[in-house]
């Protein structure tokens, strides 16, 4: 994962000027963060995260730098790493009654982060189904992650369905 920190003018089309060179050079964009509250002299700090395939990484990154410069976008900082792996799981049971916030916090304490939560239930007291998209660190195996989830689900009597 590559994280670029740039400053963009608060004007229409400026985001496109940032995204185009990244997409054109094979970047798979994961997320963009705008910090409108930190606007200074009409410039908004923006963080963009993307991935480049290993085989094109060096050349593409150099092209992106060049093209951003041509678009008058100054790169403030580049950081690498913090690679995250993602998995989708489903929880069935009394997910909310068993303190879903506690579930999320306890996972977060092990660097297992919920990036998306979607739920379906008929009534709050009834059994609910909750889909979680989970990010976990590069150095954690899928089996280790699932073991952690299993422990929690066993304690809270939830059915865990993994991929």
């Amino acid at each position: 994962m590559i994280n670029l920190e740039v400053k963009l003018p608060d004007s229409p089309g400026s985001l496109g000027e940032l995204i185009k060179p990244i997409s054109k050079n094979g970047g798979n964009i994961y997320g963009i963060l705008h910090f409108h509250d930190k606007k200074i002299k009409g410039l908004i700090p923006v963080n963009i995260s993307f991935e480049l395939s290993e085989n094109i990484r060096e050349v593409s990154l150099e092209n992106i730098r060049k093209e951003l410069k041509e678009n008058n976008i100054q790169i403030e900082n580049i950081t690498y790493g913090n690679e995250k792996k993602e998995i989708t799981v489903l929880l069935t049971g009394h997910v909310f009654d068993t303190d879903v916030l506690d579930t999320i916090k306890r996972l977060a304490s092990k660097e297992i982060n919920i990036s998306e939560l979607q739920a379906k239930f008929t009534e709050l007291k009834e059994v609910s189904n909750v889909k979680l998209k989970i990010e976990f660190p590069e150095n954690m195996t899928k089996k280790e992650l699932i073991d952690e989830l299993r422990k929690l689900c066993k304690e809270k009597q939830l059915l865990l369905i993994t991929s």
């Binding site: 799981v89 489903l90 239930f121 189904n129 089996k143 059915l159 369905i161 993994t162 991929s163």
Partner: protein, 337 residues
């Protein structure tokens, strides 16, 4: 070449076997120079027995009245009579007792103790006492074949021979047609578990007591046999972590649909662990099969994944697997001569 058979169990599988033998008699003679002589057919309360061969057509025509045939002997058990039989192969097709493996287990042991080769469609003895049966067969120089126990005629065990130069690393499979039918109906129609189960029962895909199928115990037994045979493990059914599908709701299926997932009841042998549980698989996965079909995905060391798929249940399918095993034994025995 003549082969003398002792058939134990005259239920759907046993009767289908007799029908295949009768209907294909000329074909076996022509293609394999083989004459199959069924000299005894055991039921729980007696036996049809004729040393020089039972008239199979007569037995099939008699249907449920077979006990009225002149060579029916009452109150005789297979276990007691096996030591006295002049049989080459014992075919065990009695229903599975999931806790004891009986009476099938005793039949198999008795046959092997008397140096009779064994074919079985009864899986209980194999997921409970796999090692014991294998050791006894080896000790007595007997052949034991049980292709029908896992996926009927789909050669999920026979594939081992075809992959002798490869290495199977893991197994992921759908081994129970009933649970797969229920999940398929829930996904296709958005109906609840109870309604899908009722439909399966009405169509004859599920038993009146569907516990073994929907709670995963049937698939657990099968994955034990697969793992022991294909991966060389020594597990029994107590080693399988089992979770059924009765808690799955249409909401659960619906939630993961947008991410391209479907919920399937998978039996998995991986990393020295055996599991049967609902899992999310991608809708384009080869394991995303509908209805009562079975599918097995073998991950191999040198050829990636290999998929087998087909009807994993039914009298004719199981009988057809028994015929395959029988011909394989005959070929081996003839080869040894």
């Amino acid at each position: 070449m003549k082969v003398k058979i002792c058939l134990i169990g005259k239920g759907i599988v046993g009767t289908s076997f007799l029908r295949l033998v009768e209907n294909r008699r000329d074909e076996f003679k022509q293609k394999f120079n083989l004459e199959i002589i069924v000299s005894s057919i055991f039921e729980y309360d007696g036996v049809l027995i004729k040393e020089d061969g039972i008239n199979i057509k007569e037995v099939l025509d008699a249907d449920k009245e077979f006990r009225n045939l002149p060579y029916w002997k009452e109150n005789v058990t297979a276990k007691d009579l096996i030591p006295t039989l002049d049989a080459n192969i014992c075919i065990e097709t009695t229903p599975t007792n999931s806790e004891t493996g009986e009476p099938g287990l005793s039949h198999i042991i008795e046959a092997l103790n008397n140096k009779i080769d064994v074919i079985s469609s009864n899986k209980g003895p194999f997921y409970l006492e796999y090692e014991k049966i294998k050791k006894l067969a080896k000790k007595n120089n007997c052949l034991v074949k049980y292709e029908a126990t896992v996926t009927s005629c789909v050669p999920s065990l026979g594939i081992k021979e075809k992959l002798i130069g490869n290495e199977i690393l893991s197994i992921k499979a759908i081994l129970n047609g009933t649970s797969n039918f229920i999940l398929s109906r829930m996904a296709a129609e958005g109906v609840g578990f109870s309604l899908a189960l009722k439909e399966a029962q009405e169509l004859g895909y599920a038993e009146t007591d569907p516990t073994l199928d929907i709670e995963g115990y049937d698939a657990a037994g099968k994955i034990v046999i697969l793992a022991n045979d294909l991966l060389g493990w020594s597990k029994s059914i107590g080693d399988v972590k089992v979770e059924g599908i009765s808690k799955i709701t249409p909401h659960a299926i619906d939630l993961v649909k947008s991410d391209g997932f479907v919920i399937k009841h998978l039996a998995i042998a991986e990393d020295n662990e055996l599991v049967v549980e609902p899992r999310l698989i991608h809708r384009h996965s080869p394991l995303n099969i509908s209805g009562t079909l079975n599918a097995i995905e073998l991950e191999t060391k040198y050829a990636g994944s290999i998929i087998l798929m087909g009807r994993g249940a039914g009298g004719l399918e199981a009988a057809s697997a028994i015929i395959n095993d029988l011909l394989s034994i005959v070929k081996h025995r003839r080869y040894s001569e």
